[in-house]
Amino acid sequence: MTLKTPGQSDRPPGRGRLRASQVPWWFMLPALALYLFIVVVPTLRGGFFAFTDWNGLRGTWQFVGLENFTDVFGDRRSRAALQNTVILALVVTIVQNAIALALALALDGLLKTRSALRVLFFAPVVLTPLVAGYIWSYLLAPDGAVNVLLRSVGLGGLAHDWLGDPSTALFSVCAAIVWQFTGYAMVIYLAGLAGVPTDLVEAARIDGAGPWRIFWNVKLPLINGAIVVNLLLSVIGGLKQFDQVVAMTNGGPGVASETISTAILKTAFSSGQYPKSIALAVLMTILIAVVAAAQYRLTSRRVEV
């Protein structure tokens, strides 16, 4: 497995070899047509309608400036959704990547059962997220498995209604997401670690470096590509989060675990406030774009050091 880090440039062998007239440029037309129809045009229309009072039914609309955005920030549900989504994305990204990296380092070693273990840890990834959410809402119910376990080890004082308590609902959803997708991040870290040359690690060991130094100074800089991919995948996944929230809390109690995606749907289809829900979607897109740009810049600079 080869990992290319951002900023690395090698001219690919096949590029520019054929004369332009020999390349069937029209091969891209069908894909382009579908992509414009499903993604580009609706997205541009969405971005445009965020500044109008379009309601989807009438053909007419009027510009309203930033009114939809001030509506978003004046609305309790939308404000909570923005805040919760950022918290969720941060918590999931940090916890998931820490666990995944630790597991990958352990499974990259000499363990005899490492391929079987990899299969087990990865299994939840292919599960339907909605189903994973339902399983966890059962485990976290007041008389569910988590509380039974806590009581049986004498920590009954910690047992409570995880999803019904506004202070734990959002973090319970985070736990379910981390459980489901840590295996994915682990597999990506494993792919990165497989690309670390063994003689480099050997040389460091002979020079007297301990496991911690080897990890920090040899392996970590070499799996930079895997880190970028993982951070991007988990932050963006977290910002779009919808399925598990619907299954576990549907945004509740109150608005304690509302995310941007669930708020968009409620605003549009339950309250019929189309422009406000589109403004929320625009804010979500901006969040994703900012995170992607920041992460790309930060991590590609570190490679050059």
Binding site: Y184, F242, L265
Partner: protein
């Protein structure tokens, strides 16, 4: 070389324990699905009166059969469309060095960052105007279109790494571009095709958002929507609910455990390029 020491054995035992703990939610899924109604046992205990009747009831009450067929149709059609269209588009994008072609390429991969939520309402009204609401065709088209950015990205990076010599030779021998593509280029990027099929098929099978918006409330639903509706009706009857969850994820879990090597490689393969 590092050897297998007592410390390694200790680490191995620890990780195995963690892995078993990690499997508890999946074991609970099966265990609870087999319990009789109102069983007094908890998620970790086996009820000696285990029963298969939940599966039959859930299958009929939840109309799971039709939903699973719909899921399979949507997954197959959308993956087939996106594989064909993306591989065709990636070929000129990988070979051309023009300014406009790299713009088209960036237009495609820019889609990796665009959330479906922004396109949702305009696309919804378009589908409504076309009379496609409630038909599988709408979800097939939306899923196929949504898969294009990643598929085009992966195919393009694989094809760029491919030497042009074979196609050149074929073109000199009088082979047309269509034949050169399907007989020479496409077989050489099988690894990309595998990754794209795995990732997209899993993604579409598990997708909840698009079918919820375009299919819910109609007779034509996919498996996640059938489960969602079923939970809405029987939310307190966990054994019944878990039986329906089991049947929804069973096809994908069986496929996973049979083909785990290829599926894990498929997911990790998304990194290459």
């Amino acid at each position: 070389m590092k050897r297998y020491t007592r410390r390694t054995a200790l680490l191995e035992a620890l990780i195995i324990a963690v892995a078993l703990f990690y499997m508890v939610p999946l074991l609970a899924l099966v265990n609870v699905a087999l319990k009789p109604k109102n069983s007094p046992t908890s998620a970790f205990e086996f009820d000696p009166n285990l029963t298969w009747s939940n599966f039959g009831t859930a299958w009929q009450q939840g109309s799971l059969g039709g939903a699973l067929v719909n899921s399979a149709v949507v997954a197959f059609c959308s993956v087939a469309i996106s594989v064909v269209l993306a591989s065709l588009a990636a070929y000129p994008l990988a070979r051309l060095t023009r300014r406009w072609s790299s713009l088209v390429y960036y237009l495609f991969i820019g889609g990796l960052l665009l959330p479906a939520q922004l396109a949702l309402l305009p696309l919804y009204t378009t589908m409504r105007d076309l009379g496609l609401l409630g038909s599988l065709a709408s979800v097939i088209l939306i899923s196929a279109g949504g898969q294009l950015p990643f598929s085009v990205f992966l195919y393009t990076s694989f094809m760029r790494a491919l030497p042009a010599d074979y196609e050149e030779a074929a073109l000199i021998d009088g082979c047309g571009p269509v034949r050169a593509f399907f007989h020479i280029v496409l077989p050489l990027v099988n690894a990309a095709t595998g990754t794209i099929i795995v990732l997209n098929a899993v993604g579409v099978w598990n997708d909840f958002f698009a079918p919820l918006i375009y299919l819910s409330g109609t007779g034509q639903v996919t498996a996640p929507i059938a489960v969602y509706n079923f939970v809405g009706l029987y939310h307190a009857e966990w054994p019944l609910v878990f039986a329906s969850l089991c049947m929804t994820v069973l096809p994908i879990l069986i496929t996973y455990f049979l083909l785990q090597k290829y599926i894990i490689r498929g997911f990790a393969g998304g990194l290459k390029g």
